[in-house]
């Protein structure tokens, strides 16, 4: 769907100096690997289980941000790309959180308030 050769001409040279080099890419790759290793380690350490959700969510958020900023170049590219991607992304995250609250949080809350009454 998207190998349209005519679309390619512009911005090739600007991309070259806008984007980081192979060294940065490898460093980010190493960091991503280390974070993944930490995630799996956290999963296997029983002491971490009370804080499993916040720790894992923060770590994966960090990975997400690193890939988007460096590998997808949003840190270096025009902010317009960030805008058109992040605006729907915020909606998508809101959908996940909204449905989670409606199905998983509110029923408990309402059960408790019914008991109190």
């Amino acid at each position: 769907m998207s190998m349209n050769p005519a679309a390619a001409p512009s911005s090739a040279h600007e991309a070259v100096h806008a984007h980081p080099g192979a060294g940065t890419y490898v460093v980010i790759g190493v960091i991503l690997t280390v974070i993944t290793a930490i995630e799996v380690a956290v999963y296997y350490i029983p002491a971490m289980h009370p804080v499993l959700a916040p720790v894992l969510l923060s770590l994966s958020l960090l990975k997400f941000v690193l890939v988007v900023m460096f590998y997808m170049h949003l840190k270096f590219d025009s902010r317009l790309f960030s805008t058109v991607f992040v605006a729907p992304l915020i909606l998508a995250v809101s959908v996940v959180i909204g449905l989670f609250i409606i199905f998983k949080v509110l029923p408990h809350y309402q059960a408790v308030s019914a008991l109190v009454r």
């Binding site: 050769p5 005519a6 729907p88 809101s94 409606i102 509110l106």
Partner: protein, 604 residues
């Protein structure tokens, strides 16, 4: 086309295809706009016939004009047609034709993708309507509530057409949304800043954003339904722990933004027509842009107001009541700004203007009844009654359709180079306006008296027979008005008065170029220096540029891969109907082949 000679002399080479083949392979945004427009007017007539059948069945109590099963199919197809096959595509038709002209572009960002969207839409519409041929049209309402839509409760192919047909149509809408967001970001003429764009283009932008965000949610909801119906999963089946309410959440998360997908284009049209025929710039331009964008944004956070009756509990009820009421604020701002634009203006009540003013009146009524059932306790009394039917018909018939009528009278001269007949137009307006109010106003009372929706007949003891008869008479008057409209379109196209490039003395860029515009739209792309380029300083230069003899202009060549790819995609989904698990894979392989050719096709 008068400029054809000049084009050839100056080095512009038209692609030289004519007739049917030209329409099939075209990638020109104006021709695709006309294809969208013609198709959606046909679907408007089909959906209208379905509506008249429904009204005829309801003309008196205990009537048996059609059976209950046929009634179910008719009201479902009426809703699906008016939303997916008329309301959305007719807006897209105007986006296609007008937006590139308004921003000073030669075409949309992805012309072949644009053609692909149209052909997928057409295939989806034909697939949906093919269900009538085997007498098994969708019969579960346009919202197809689970678990009634599931195989055990709806064993026939009816709801298969629903789940697969909407999936096809959704693909077209997402592609269209991506295309228009990109077009408006990328292809604006020099000087056409975001805050100089005409309101119609702004509303097209917000609508496209809603298309790309809301339609994927519907796609997922439909995939679950398709998996349930064809492969025995249990997404919406309580017996296996599934929750039919999840369908409602996903559907309305799409469905409420969909409401704004249908109404924002009409808001955009009215915001063009009112200033033109008041001879005043739009009052509070920036606020109009912000309120339109805010409506789109908040429209994402109100979906469960369709679900108060499911028992969401006090917290969710309160949240969705409040968020829904908040939307009334930017909407009210728009209404007051339109009125303020007219205030002290030199009003000229052409048919386009009449429809815009009528739209404001009717939409306001629909908006107010909307605020009424935003209140959850109130809603429990009204839900599933004709009160709700009255509400959304005021919004969609009074708002969307009257807005689109206004736009078609307004832009017809640009598209054809000829004026529409104003006498016929005024008959059309008054018949439509009276018919609409006769049809839908009594529904408020009928609903409050307790008449339920989606029930094929009613008892004489309910005492709503007279009001129902009145509604049916009103619907027939609307039918007459619709025929007058079609007649006016045909007649004016054949022998309307020549329009000239700017018959209304309007302010925006599409009126700078000739009517109809040449394939490349503008001889030289004009530079925009203000919000009303044809009213303010520099207008002579803008018109001179727009109508200049073209230099070398490369327009994308026609292609038959869009229609073939669309057929491939539609076939893939249609082959599910065989219940042979590998059959859709054949369609998928064909689609992949088409996509490859599409991707590697030269566009020079």
């Amino acid at each position: 086309m008068a400029t054809a000679e000049a084009e050839i002399q100056a080095g512009y080479h038209p692609h030289g295809r004519t007739g049917l083949w030209d329409w099939i392979t075209t990638v020109d945004h104006k021709k695709i706009g006309l294809l969208y427009g013609a198709t959606s007017i046909i679907f408007l007539l089909l959906g209208g016939l379905e509506a008249l059948t429904i009204r005829t069945q309801l003309i008196r109590p205990d009537n048996h004009f059609i059976t209950a099963e046929a009634y179910n199919q008719f009201f479902t197809m009426h809703g699906l047609t008016m939303v997916f096959l008329m309301g959305m595509p007719i807006a897209v038709a105007l986006f296609n034709y007008i937006v590139p002209l308004q921003i000073g572009a030669r075409d949309v960002a992805f012309p072949r993708l644009n053609a692909l969207s149209y052909w997928i839409f057409l295939c989806g519409g034909l697939f949906l309507y093919s269900s009538f041929v085997i007498g098994a049209a969708p019969n579960g309402g346009w919202f197809g509530y689970a678990n009634l839509s599931e195989r055990p409760f709806s064993p026939g192919p009816n709801m298969d057409f629903y789940s697969l047909g909407l999936q096809i149509l959704g693909i077209a809408s997402i592609m269209g949304g991506v295309n228009f967001v990109t077009t408006i970001i990328q292809l604006r003429a020099p000087g056409m800043r975001l805050m100089r764009m005409p309101l119609f283009t702004w509303m097209a932008f917000v609508t496209s954003f809603l298309l790309i965000t809301a339609l994927p949610v519907l796609a997922v909801a439909l995939f679950f339904l398709t998996f349930d119906r064809f492969w025995g999963t249990n997404f919406y089946m309580p017996a296996a722990g599934g929750d039919p309410i999840l369908w409602q959440h996903l559907f309305w998360m799409f469905g409420h933004p969909e409401v704004y997908i249908l109404i924002l284009p009409a808001f955009g049209i009215v915001s063009e027509v009112i200033p033109t025929f008041s001879r005043k710039p739009l009052f509070g331009y920036a606020v109009m842009v912000y309120s339109g964008s805010l409506i789109g944004l908040i429209g994402w956070g109100v979906w469960a107001h369709h679900m108060f009756a499911t028992g969401l509990g006090p917290i969710a009820d309160a949240f969705f009541t409040i968020s829904t009421m908040i939307i009334a604020i930017p909407t009210g701002v728009k209404i007051f700004n339109w009125l303020a634009t007219m205030w002290g203006g030199q009003l000229k009540f052409t048919t386009a203007m009449l429809f815009s003013v009528g739209m404001i009146a009717a939409f306001t009524l629909g908006g107010i009844s909307g605020v009424m059932h935003a209140t959850s306790p109130h809603d429990l009394q009204q839900t599933d009654t004709y009160f709700v039917v009255a509400h959304f018909h005021y919004v969609l018939v009074g708002g969307t359709i009257m807005g689109v009528f206004s736009g078609s009278y307004y832009w017809f001269p640009k598209i054809t180079g000829k004026l529409m007949n104003e006498t016929l137009g005024k008959w059309h307006f008054w018949l439509w306006f009276v018919g609409m109010n006769l049809t839908f106003f009594p529904m408020h009372f009928v609903g409050l008296l307790g008449m339920p929706r989606r029930t094929y007949t009613y008892s004489a003891e309910l005492n709503v027979g007279a009001l129902n008869a009145l509604e049916t008479v009103g619907s027939y008057i609307m039918g007459v008005a619709a025929i007058l409209y079609i007649w006016n379109l045909v007649r004016s196209y054949r022998k309307g008065e020549p329009a000239g490039h700017n018959p209304w003395n309007a302010s925006s860029l599409e009126w700078a170029t000739t009517s109809p515009p040449p394939e490349y739209n503008f001889g030289r792309v004009p530079t925009v220096r203000n919000r009303e380029p044809l009213w303010l300083e520099g207008k002579e230069q803008v018109i001179a540029d727009a109508q200049a003899a073209p230099g070398y202009i490369h327009m994308p060549p026609p292609s038959y891969w869009p229609i073939l790819t669309a057929i491939g995609i539609a076939t893939t989904f249609a082959l599910f109907m065989t219940h042979v698990w590998w059959a859709p894979l054949i369609g998928l392989a064909a689609t992949a082949l088409c996509v490859m050719n599409f991707a590697f096709e030269s566009t020079t």
